[in-house]
């Protein structure tokens, strides 16, 4: 256990000194890495921990980003004051959208969430309510300011994203060791059995959706700040597929796995950008091979200390 904290300490130190050694292009990649890690970790709450096949997570990410963008550019609200809205709106939407469908069997849930995501991006493209800016999105989002300090430099945005990741890790660590986290784990393993021991599965499923949507919404704020623009393409269904794949390639309900998955699915393609055209071909092959060799992800989760003799194999 102490070793684990040591490794996390080292990881955080690396992340803290990282922006001072990278060129501006790579700092930008690192910021997006931190944001995507956060979104993937929040996706993992629904997909990995609660075991619901959600393939529309970019919707909540986009809802957060668009809340900030619309409130800031159309109504002139300062960025920091948009944060509560960018958390609560995805939270409410997450619960409302999930409420009629959480009881669906795995694949039907997957398709319905894809449906939500496509309706969302189509609505943005069609400039719904005349405030989403249509297919081009919204440009010229302000720089966040707090007590006269403005987050204008790339490094400051990097640390904003880093803070976001720390907060998410803190929430997930607490979730893991709390009643709610255990309840999610039970209902993932066997929803009927968990209901029999008195877990309100419906409540905890909605709880998982709400929590993960809220975190993704907050990540959306930082995303909007990083690019000072939002567009429907950044939150389309293929983006959801990316988050879905990150979790499964990395290892469901494993924090290390999800971080590694984000690195593998997002940073590696950036590194191999020079092989522009062939890289996704190789990438697809790599995805197949990883799943064949490590069907539970690169870094699968380990639960508790179950004595060896209790396993069948």
């Amino acid at each position: 256990m102490n070793k684990k904290y040591l490794y996390y300490g080292l990881f955080f130190i690396v992340l803290i000194v990282l922006p001072f050694f990278l060129s501006s292009r790579w700092v930008s990649v690192a910021i997006t890495f931190l944001i995507y890690s956060t979104v993937a970790l929040s996706q993992d709450i629904v997909l990995g921990r609660a075991g619901m096949f959600n393939m529309g997570h970019a919707l909540f990410f986009g809802l957060g980003a668009y809340s900030t963008a619309v409130l800031n550019t159309v109504y002139g609200v300062p960025i920091l004051l948009t944060i509560p809205v960018a958390i609560i709106l995805p939270l409410v939407f997450g619960i409302l959208l999930a409420a009629p469908i959480v009881h669906l069997r795995g694949d039907y849930l997957l398709v319905t969430t894809i449906g939500f995501n496509i309706v969302f991006t189509q609505a943005l493209k069609n400039n719904i309510f005349g405030i989403t800016g249509g297919p081009n999105g919204i440009f010229g989002i302000d720089v966040p300011k707090i007590f006269g300090y403005s987050f204008s430099s790339q490094t400051s945005i990097y640390f904003m994203a880093f803070g976001l990741l720390l907060l998410t890790l803190f929430i997930i660590r607490n979730l893991e060791t709390s009643k709610a986290g255990r309840a999610l784990h039970y209902l993932n393993e066997d929803s009927l059995a968990s209901e029999c021991i008195g877990i309100n599965t419906r409540f905890y499923r909605l709880f998982a959706f709400g929590l993960s949507a809220a975190i993704a919404g907050l990540a959306g704020v930082v995303f909007a700040v990083q690019f000072s623009a939002v567009s429907p393409e950044a939150f389309n269904f293929l983006q959801s597929v990316l988050f879905f794949t990150i979790v499964l390639v990395g290892g469901p309900s494993s924090i290390e796995g999800v971080l590694l998955g984000t690195f593998f699915m997002f940073v590696l393609p950036e590194i191999f950008r020079q092989f522009a055209e062939a890289r996704y071909l190789i990438f697809g092959i790599a995805m197949i091979l990883i799943m064949i060799w490590r069907p539970k992800g690169i870094w699968p989760a380990k639960f508790g200390r179950i004595p060896k003799y209790m396993f069948k194999e």
């Binding site: 694949d107 449906g115 071909l281 069907p295």
Partner: protein
């Protein structure tokens, strides 16, 4: 009324193409319980292969009927082989793995095919020749129907009828249904499940190939990542009908095509895609296993 009938004809044409592609999803799902995300890209691949074959043949043979027939046969064989290879490489090793691992493998395979197409034929769209099916149009009481549309409708319905007959009336079809219900029990009854799965992929991919060729001939422009959008629509059709259910996929495809065409005709085409998915969500809420899907009690 004329607009309605015209859009109905157009919708049925597109819908029957969706139905052909949806059958590939639904059959694989029935046997393997796997969403074969690479199926849409196989469909795109078939359009490219078909174009190449067509171009080669049009230099050698003058009769366009023979060219079309040969193109269909050759493309169906090639895509069926590709489908079987796909199953062998990407899905068979994952049969005992967690279900979502196979989904990721399917997504990987989809990336491979999509980018393979782009590397071979380039990122720019290709255009099918216009005169391959003579553009004859009939005017029936103010409603136009083209020879190509008629061809699409007749061939699709014939294929669906043959498939329905095959699945319900032949020994192999019975074995297929048995494997879909319970693989272990089917194996105990002496059914070679691996062979059945291969047959499923052959039939599904070949039907997808017909769908891909129709997409090429009907819309004429084909592009490397078109597999996603056509595949997704066909997949939605399969889900609406009740995935794993063969008549369901046919019904879902036709329903989706007609719905799409009517929305485009009466409202606006920019909302057609969004409303299609609203329809999907509504159906999922009120009929959680699709229109023809059976309500399965949860197994304990």
């Amino acid at each position: 009324m004329d607009i309605f009938l015209q859009q109905l004809i157009n919708g049925l044409t597109i819908g029957s193409i969706y139905a052909l592609v949806a059958l590939g999803y639904t059959m694989v799902y029935g046997v393997l319980k796997l969403i074969n995300f690479a199926h849409g890209d196989l469909v795109a691949f078939s359009a490219y292969i078909g174009l190449v074959v067509m171009m080669q043949l049009s230099g050698a043979i003058s009769s366009s009927a023979v060219i079309i027939l040969l193109t269909f046969i050759v493309t169906m064989i090639i895509i069926a082989a590709a489908g079987v290879t796909l199953e062998r490489i990407a899905y068979r090793p994952l049969r005992s793995a967690p279900r979502l691992s196979a989904v990721v493998s399917a997504l990987g395979a989809s990336l491979v095919i999509e980018n393979g197409i782009m590397l071979i034929w380039g990122p720019r769209p290709k255009i099918f020749p216009a005169d391959i099916v003579p553009s004859i149009n009939w005017n029936i009481g103010g409603v136009y129907i083209g020879l190509l549309q008629l061809l699409v409708l007749v061939i699709s319905f014939t294929l669906m009828f043959i498939l329905y007959f095959f699945v319900n009336r032949t020994k192999l079809g019975t074995a297929m249904r048995a494997s879909a219900i319970d693989q272990d029990a089917a194996r105990l009854m002496g059914i070679n499940v691996n062979k059945i799965i291969m047959t499923t992929f052959i039939i599904g991919s070949a039907l997808g190939a017909v769908g891909g060729l129709f997409i090429g001939m009907y819309y004429r422009g084909i592009y490397f990542n078109m597999g996603w959008i056509y595949g997704l629509n066909a997949f939605v059709a399969a889900i609406i009908g009740g995935i794993g259910n063969i008549p369901g996929a046919m019904l879902g495809g036709l329903l989706l095509g007609v719905f799409n065409a009517l929305i485009s005709g009466y409202l606006s085409s920019s909302w057609a895609l969004a409303l299609t998915y609203v329809l999907l969500i509504v159906i999922m809420i009120f009929r959680p296993t699709g229109i023809l899907g059976e309500r399965v009690a949860e197994k304990v």
